[in-house]
């Protein structure tokens, strides 16, 4: 079977800090990683490959440096990697992004497409279901466990208060949760091959069947009007005391605030 995994290179937002003077994000020195939900999706694709045999293609839309995320995917065990990159894709919202991804996916053979549920920089969770819609595929979101059963896939689909175990016929698209698994590390041999021997295929807008007014900023119905950082809440007082005094202080503060 053919599995295509969509991955996004994202800044590790747990490392992002706010500059208290300018109230802007400090982006320098923030490492780029494969988005965690996507990485779990990739891991599950590689596990299916190991158990049942499959061809795994990793695909990423982003700036040229996303090449690195794709090399990491190859080093983990993906067979092929495709980078979709073009200035014309810039400023795309989720609708334009999913349209571009779907155009790339429609050039590939797939039985299963896996995307992460959401990226940690945008947190929209929209690109997976929208991509499925463009391709006319069934989608199952929030997958916490997946199992291939012949021509079918069985997914444990997470909700806030329950799980639905769903079965559907392939091909389909699922969106993966980081809870799916613990992704493996790259192997030394994998790293060597990924960086020395394997190629990342590059597709630009002219390689895809897309209208220029349907992609990038032009193809995006949503427009960012302004962005701002929430002014940091003024910090209260910091105390460094003995445990006994610390506990007393907290109790005094709670009494002041009528909490106790």
């Amino acid at each position: 079977m053919n599995i295509v995994v969509c991955i996004k290179q994202v800044p590790d937002t747990t490392e992002v800090r706010i500059d208290p003077k300018t109230n802007t994000l400090i982006r320098e020195g923030v490492p780029s990683i494969i988005n965690p939900d996507d990485k779990a999706g990739l891991e599950s694709a590689i596990r299916i490959k190991e158990e049942k045999g499959a061809h795994v293609t990793a695909i990423s839309m982003g700036p040229p440096q996303a090449d690195l995320a794709l090399r990491e995917a190859l080093a983990m065990g993906a067979d092929d990697a495709i980078l979709i990159t073009d200035r014309a894709f810039g400023g795309a919202d989720t609708l334009a992004t999913s349209r571009t991804l779907a155009a790339a996916l429609s050039k590939l053979d797939y039985d299963l497409i896996i995307t992460g549920r959401q990226a940690i920089d945008g947190d929209t969770a929209q690109v997976g279901p929208e991509t499925a819609e463009h391709l006319g595929l069934t989608n199952i979101s929030y997958a916490e466990e997946i199992q291939i059963d012949g021509d079918y896939i069985i997914v444990k689909r997470q909700y806030e208060d329950r799980y639905h175990t769903l079965k559907t016929k392939l091909p389909c698209l699922i969106t993966a949760l980081a809870e799916l698994n613990q992704p493996r590390y790259m192997s030394p041999k994998g790293i060597f091959e990924a960086f020395r021997e394997k190629e990342v295929t590059v597709w630009t807008a002219k390689d895809l069947d897309v209208e220029l007014n349907e992609i990038g900023l032009k193809g995006s119905p949503t427009k960012v009007k302004r962005s701002f950082t929430k002014g940091a809440k003024t910090a209260g007082k910091l105390f460094s005391l003995e445990p006994q005094e610390s506990a007393e202080l907290i109790v005094d503060k709670m009494k002041e605030k009528f909490i106790i």
Binding site: T13, E130, E160, K223, T229
Partner: protein, 340 residues
């Protein structure tokens, strides 16, 4: 597209187990506010089975009208039957705004509808207002504000050129209106034939996650533990303190990922947003993602060994010290206060 043809605010009224979910009432409340600025009405759309009494509740909560579709297929949420039905209703009624809860249902449903309608959709909004368009001031647009970059960058987004304008809205942020039995009940029972091929998944099993503890979104006091707890064996002391204060425990992502605490306790961007009266953060460094989920708490106490921990930037009282020694003493002293 003739934008002026689109009128009114629609709210998707999510149901589970044939009960309208809290977020739907919050959306009706917010919708009524927006409707005032647009001089229009709020319609709740409810899909389910045998739920007419619940449809009435939406009217009492402020909805001017409820569109109710009664169908066996819509009893349990499945993506395509819901997408099919709602898209049909939206194309038929042409609302200018459609709001969904940013839940595991809304965030699956809304993107597919947006894509089918070629409409803009903004995810997980925490603020909604109406503003005149920059170019055509007689045109009124929905301004949708949402957090990005793990929570500290806010972006305000508009869809000036397409209708409907759609948003998923974070649960717990908007205010529901008080129930008013004086409201008139206006329910349209909408008939639609859902094609058999729309049922493209089979539900093999439904498992409920049993909550033994109080829901963290409803707790007035949260005692929250992070990586600094060192292990699950140290959580009972937080439980004890929480119980004494009439609250419950919660956790940071680090503690949940380590498997010390179940996922339903997680506060933060990928967990839940909480606004208790008191939040005691124990051994939580305060990554942006965590702060985004708790900084609206009325009063924040943080205990952490590291004086540079970002949690101290949002804390009302910050204690640099060892939580493993301080928490038991704190419990002891509160107990003594209560016995006075």
């Amino acid at each position: 597209m003739n934008i002026s043809e689109y009128k009114g605010i629609f709210v998707f009224a999510e149901q589970r187990d044939r009960k309208v979910q809290k977020v739907a009432f919050e959306l009706v409340g917010k919708g009524k506010q927006l409707a005032k600025d647009l001089n229009t009405t709020v319609t709740a759309v409810l899909l389910g089975k045998d739920m007419k009494d619940e449809a009435e509740k939406l009217c009492y909560a402020g909805a001017d009208k409820v569109i109710y579709v009664d169908d066996e297929i819509l009893d349990l949420y499945m993506t395509e039957p819901y997408v099919y039905t709602l898209t049909h209703i939206i194309l038929d009624k042409k609302p200018e705004i459609v709001l969904y809860g940013a839940s595991a249902i809304g965030r699956d449903l809304a993107p597919r509808i947006a894509c089918r309608l070629k409409a803009g959709l903004t995810a997980d909004c925490t603020g909604l207002t109406i503003e005149p368009d920059d170019q055509e001031p007689e045109k009124l647009n929905l301004m949708m504000t949402r957090p990005a970059f793990g929570g500290n960058l806010m972006a305000t987004i508009a869809c000036p050129d397409t209708r409907p304008q759609m948003a998923t809205v974070r649960p717990g942020v908007m205010q529901a209106l008080k129930r008013s039995d004086a409201n008139s009940v206006n329910i349209e029972e909408y008939k639609i034939e859902i094609p058999a091929e729309a049922v493209n998944v089979e539900i093999l099993d439904v498992t409920r996650i049993i909550q033994q503890r109080m829901n963290i979104e409803e707790a007035k006091v949260l005692v929250s533990g992070g990586r600094g707890m060192h292990g699950p064996e140290n959580y009972p002391m937080l439980e004890e303190l929480a119980e004494l204060l009439g609250g419950t425990i919660s956790a940071s992502r680090a503690a949940v990922d380590a498997g010390w605490v179940p996922k339903d306790r997680q506060v933060g961007q990928t967990g839940k947003t909480v606004r208790p009266n008191l939040y005691i953060a124990c051994g939580i460094s305060g990554a942006i993602q965590h702060l985004a989920g708790m900084e609206e708490a009325d009063y924040i106490v943080a205990i952490n060994k590291d004086p540079d921990a970002p949690i101290f930037n949002v804390a009302d009282v910050g204690i640099v010290g060892d939580l493993h020694r301080i928490v038991p003493l704190l419990t002891e002293k509160i107990l003594a206060e209560k016995e006075k």
